[in-house]
């Protein structure tokens, strides 16, 4: 069965390869926003050289890391599942001889891998070239290992989360507005707009306990070397715990939802 899921993921990866122009266009958008936020950071750091433990170089790296990873962890405007529920196609997916959630999960893993190579890497390289902030130092293998472990957990949290608000379509037919709101809330609290270390203390404390911190904030802090040692292990634990909890919730809700399915012939 595992072979089947891996094949699903690979197919999703290859399917994505076809949309070459769409990816280049998206890449341009990521770079444009990277440039805007870089200038915002440069302007802000004129008045003080450190904020929340970040200097300008850290902030620039952070900006470009976020632009690189956002498509890997939480695709904005992902309504693929919702649309199959609306069109009724979902019935064919439900009757496949595999688990409904793991099927979508594998597809999305394939896409995330695609975006890691074809979106994240070029975006970050563009940032390095445009703003010359170099690779994050130190080039410590433990740091990279931790990042490579934490990023997939973030991506999987993202999959569970967007599956959750997509599946709302079983109850509300037009759930796209809800989905946009859910996405923006997650993006705010994972530091997509303003990095969490810039948040006021009390808000940062709240954000730390939300599942969204694990999406992008935790991998990013590890990448920048701001999270090391025991605190890193604890954060990783919290991130993994949220992944388990969200996955259990998604599976429970899916069971509830699929019980309601009434397929119309035609």
């Amino acid at each position: 069965m595992l072979r089947f899921y891996i094949e699903v993921a690979r197919t999703a990866f290859r399917r994505q390869l076809i949309y070459r122009w769409a990816n280049i266009a998206g890449l341009i958008t990521n770079i444009v926003f990277g440039i805007i936020f870089s200038y915002v950071m440069i302007a802000l750091f004129q008045v003080r050289s450190m904020a929340g433990g970040y200097d300008l170089k850290d902030a620039l790296r952070y900006v470009w890391l976020v632009q690189s990873l956002v498509m890997v962890v939480l695709t904005f405007g992902w309504y693929d599942l919702m649309l199959t529920i609306r069109s009724g196609e979902v019935v064919s997916d439900l009757s496949k001889p595999c688990d409904f959630y793991w099927y979508w999960f594998s597809r999305e893993i394939g896409r995330s891998c695609y975006y890691l190579f074809y979106r994240a890497l070029p975006t970050y390289l563009a940032g390095m070239l445009l703003f010359g902030f170099g690779a994050p130092l130190p080039l410590d293998w433990r740091l990279w290992l931790a990042f490579m472990l934490s990023l997939p957990v973030g991506a999987m949290i993202g999959i569970a989360y967007r599956f959750l608000f997509n599946i709302a379509a079983f109850w509300i037919l037009e759930a796209r507005a809800l989905g946009t709101l859910a996405t923006v809330i997650a993006l705010v609290f994972t530091g997509n707009y303003v990095p969490l270390p810039f948040f006021p203390g009390w808000l940062h404390a709240i954000a730390d306990w939300l599942p969204f911190s694990g999406l992008m904030n935790v991998p990013a802090q590890i990448f920048l070397g701001k999270l090391t040692g025991v605190p890193m292990l604890l954060e990783f634990l919290r991130q993994s715990l949220w992944l388990v909890v969200l996955t259990l919730i998604v599976r429970a809700v899916t069971t509830q939802a699929t019980r309601r399915v009434v397929a119309q012939g035609g």
Binding site: Y39, V47, F198
Partner: protein, 271 residues
């Protein structure tokens, strides 16, 4: 003149039909507007968090940046409301619907522009207005003069014209590329994002671009500077603020002319 008036009447009629259609699902539309308001409001408030660790952004205080972002949001909101049909034009082309539009004895642009009108976009305009109020509170008020009010209103409308013109230029590209090029998307959304901050933070080349190539800065940045008694960028004299309508209409005319050129060159997609 007679023709333009009848075109406008038709446009109004088509928009009213759209509104009436959407009002059939009242609860739905209210939820949509509220959600859109929440989304844009959340993004707005989050941006202000920059000013927790940093007191100013290149000399701009939190209230001033909030004012700028609110004005931009409102101007963009108007553009979104009226430009939706142009925004989805690539769909129209791909489905081959544009051939039908051309068969009708009416100006094609009117039909395209009125083919969509999304009431939920009122959410962003509401956010812009509340953001404006919040900015006034943060600034402890502004020294209003009649000229400032005029400059602001002219700027907002001109800004909307330029935003819609960007969409129109993107739509024109669809005649050749069929798919909408995200280049316009980057300009449209990226432009909004850029104009939410003082343009003086950007590279000189980028500032010139926003003033003289895609003159979005005339729409919101210059009037906001004038409103807040700040000097204009690049040493421009103050009266330049009042050129906004000329610049806006000029840019729109260019966009309409390019569009007309595209329509004449249009060959169907063959699907």
């Amino acid at each position: 003149m007679q023709e333009i008036l009848s075109d406008l009447r038709l446009y109004r009629r088509l928009i009213v039909i759209q509104i009436r259609g959407q009002m059939q699902y009242k609860l739905n539309i209210v939820i949509d507007i509220l959600t859109y308001f929440a989304v844009t409001g959340l993004e707005f408030v989050t941006m202000l968090l920059y000013f927790v660790p940093f007191p100013t952004m290149l000399g701009w205080r939190v209230g001033e940046v909030a004012m700028l972002a609110a004005v931009t949001s409102f101007s963009f909101g108007i553009a979104e409301l009226f430009g939706a049909g142009i925004d989805v034009f690539d769909e129209t082309i791909r489905r081959g619907d544009f051939d039908r539009v051309l068969l009708r004895p009416v100006e094609a642009l009117i039909l395209v522009a009125s083919s969509e009108f999304r009431l939920r976009r009122l959410g962003r305009m509401t956010q812009g207005m509340l953001g404006f109020a919040l900015a006034l509170v943060l600034l402890h008020g502004v020294d209003w003069t009649p000229l400032k009010l005029i400059a602001l209103l002219m700027g907002i409308v001109s800004g909307s014209f330029i935003f819609v013109s960007i969409l129109l230029l993107g739509a024109t590209m669809c005649f050749w590329t069929v798919q909408t090029t995200e280049l316009t998307s980057s300009l449209y959304y990226g432009g909004r994002e850029m104009l939410s901050y003082p343009i003086t933070i950007y590279h000189q080349a980028l500032q010139r671009f926003l003033l003289f190539v895609i003159p979005l800065a005339f729409g919101t940045f210059l009037p906001t500077c004038y409103l807040l008694d700040r000097p204009l960028p690049m040493g421009l004299p103050v009266w330049v603020t009042f050129l906004a309508p000329v610049v806006g209409l000029g840019f729109a005319s260019v966009a309409v002319w390019v569009w007309g050129f595209g329509v004449r060159r249009y060959q169907s997609t063959g699907s």
